[in-house]
């Protein structure tokens, strides 16, 4: 964590670099979406870029890099449940649809 005066001063430069990266990535996302690729690839690319941007924001602006393991555990827990909440309903629905198709 940037706590001492010196460190804060140093990180200011870092913030500006991250800012530049975020701006470039935004442009890349927009450009990528105009490429003629399949939906699956498009989704993957867009979410991959968004994840990189999100990671940059979390690690640098939110100083996640310098935090202790307690916080990591809390966030990992939340992330795990987040994934579960997103995946299970879709998987269950797909299975039901498959079941229906099987009979009709």
């Amino acid at each position: 964590m940037a706590s001492s005066i010196e460190e804060v001063r140093k990180s200011v430069r870092l913030y500006l670099m991250v800012f530049g990266a975020l701006g470039v990535l935004t442009i890349v996302t927009v450009l990528a979406s105009s490429l003629n690729v399949s939906v699956a690839v498009g989704v993957f690319v867009a979410l991959a870029i968004a994840s990189v941007k999100g990671t940059l924001v979390a690690t640098y602006f939110m100083h996640l890099l310098g935090e202790r393991s307690t916080l990591y555990w809390v966030l990992i827990l939340a992330a795990f449940f987040f994934l579960l909440l997103i995946l299970i309903p879709v998987m269950m629905h797909s299975e039901t649809v498959h079941l229906i198709d099987q009979v009709t």
């Binding site: 039901t96 079941l99 229906i100 099987q102 009979v103 009709t104």
Partner: protein, 329 residues
């Protein structure tokens, strides 16, 4: 036989006993566990009460027995899960009757507060339906005109009465017009939510006709000594869904008892009467679906195979929608 244990309703489905076995084994297991815990618990309360044991022991008791007990619990749960529940569920969910078994396919469309049974007719094909054609009295599931879809010509829709043959696989495609309902036939060990926008398949095979089921569910009821008073009133009220099974004095078989009949029975000196449900196989709604949830009752009529064909030949000719009083709001 363990499968027909005391509290479960009679089972008339081909593979319903598999569910009963799981429930019965589980309850035996639960009871044993509970009694063992209970005995130990009671022993501790008496043996280690403060007056009998003024000083407690600081060190933890050795827990070999309890560890063993926990392992046993895990093992039994695993056996019930892998050996029973998973295969039974697989039958209910992933082994629909194959075409060579010639299943009877029926659509069931639930609504507030009735069950519409849509038979495809001899061609085995369902006519198309469209929501905007729905007319609660004349066309409850919105079937299109026969000129639009020839499959529809021999379709038949029955409200709240679900006729099926026994010993034949029934494949139900279950859906709903409005809210979520749940198609529950406890005697057939069948239950499935009816969800609007989805047509979920379920299947079962009845091994007994309605009449045979009636026989199983016949019980002797003591006739109250007087035809007036609270006991008599209760007797009549409690048994309003039941009919007499054989001639009792001058009361004929198949009668729903009224206060009048009760008088006759008493006059004839009859002290015990055999009663059975007029419609033994009820379809309940198991999912809260609005104010009429409690009376969203259907009847399953299970015929011998020939009788079913005869019924359908007659019913399917002319489509009559009885004005169902249970259908409102």
């Amino acid at each position: 036989m363990i499968a027909s244990s005391f509290w479960l309703p009679p089972n008339i489905a081909e593979r319903g006993s598999e569910i009963d076995i799981i429930i019965s084994y589980l309850h035996i297991f639960m009871a044993v566990l509970f009694v063992v815990w209970g005995v130990y618990f009671a022993y501790c309360l008496v043996r280690f009460r403060a007056s009998a044991n003024p000083t407690a022991t600081y060190a933890d008791a050795k827990a070999k027995t309890s560890k063993a007990a926990e392992v046993i619990v895990i093992v039994i749960e695993a056996i019930l899960l892998v050996g029973f529940s998973i295969p039974v569920w697989a039958y209910y969910r992933s082994e629909p009757p194959t075409a060579d078994k010639n299943p009877l396919t029926v659509r069931v469309v639930a609504q507030q507060f009735a069950w519409n049974i849509h038979y495809p007719g001899p061609d085995g094909k369902f006519g198309k339906t469209r929501p905007e054609l729905i007319d609660e009295a004349l066309n409850p599931i919105g079937l299109v005109d026969a000129s639009e879809d020839p499959n529809r010509a021999d379709d038949y829709v029955s409200v709240n009465i679900f006729h099926i043959p026994k010993d034949r696989d029934i494949l139900v495609r279950l859906t709903s017009k409005d809210v979520i309902h749940s198609f529950a036939v406890p005697l057939l060990r069948v239950k499935q939510d009816a969800i609007p926008g989805m047509e979920i398949p379920i299947w079962f095979k009845a091994t007994k006709t309605s009449e045979e089921t009636q026989k199983i569910m016949t019980r002797a009821y003591a006739v109250p000594e007087s035809a007036a008073g609270r006991r008599a009133e209760k007797f009549i009220n409690r048994n309003r869904l039941l009919i007499t099974m054989s001639k009792n004095g001058s009361v004929p078989a198949g009668t729903t008892l009224t206060a009048e009949h009760l008088k006759t029975l008493i006059a004839d000196g009859i002290t015990s009467v055999d009663l059975a449900p007029a419609f033994p196989v009820n379809i309940q709604c198991a999912q809260l679906c609005g104010l009429g949830h409690y009376r969203m009752k259907g009847q399953m009529v299970i015929h011998e195979s020939d009788d079913y064909e005869a019924w359908f030949a007659e019913a399917g000719v002319e489509e009559v929608f009885e004005d169902d009083e249970e259908e409102d709001d």
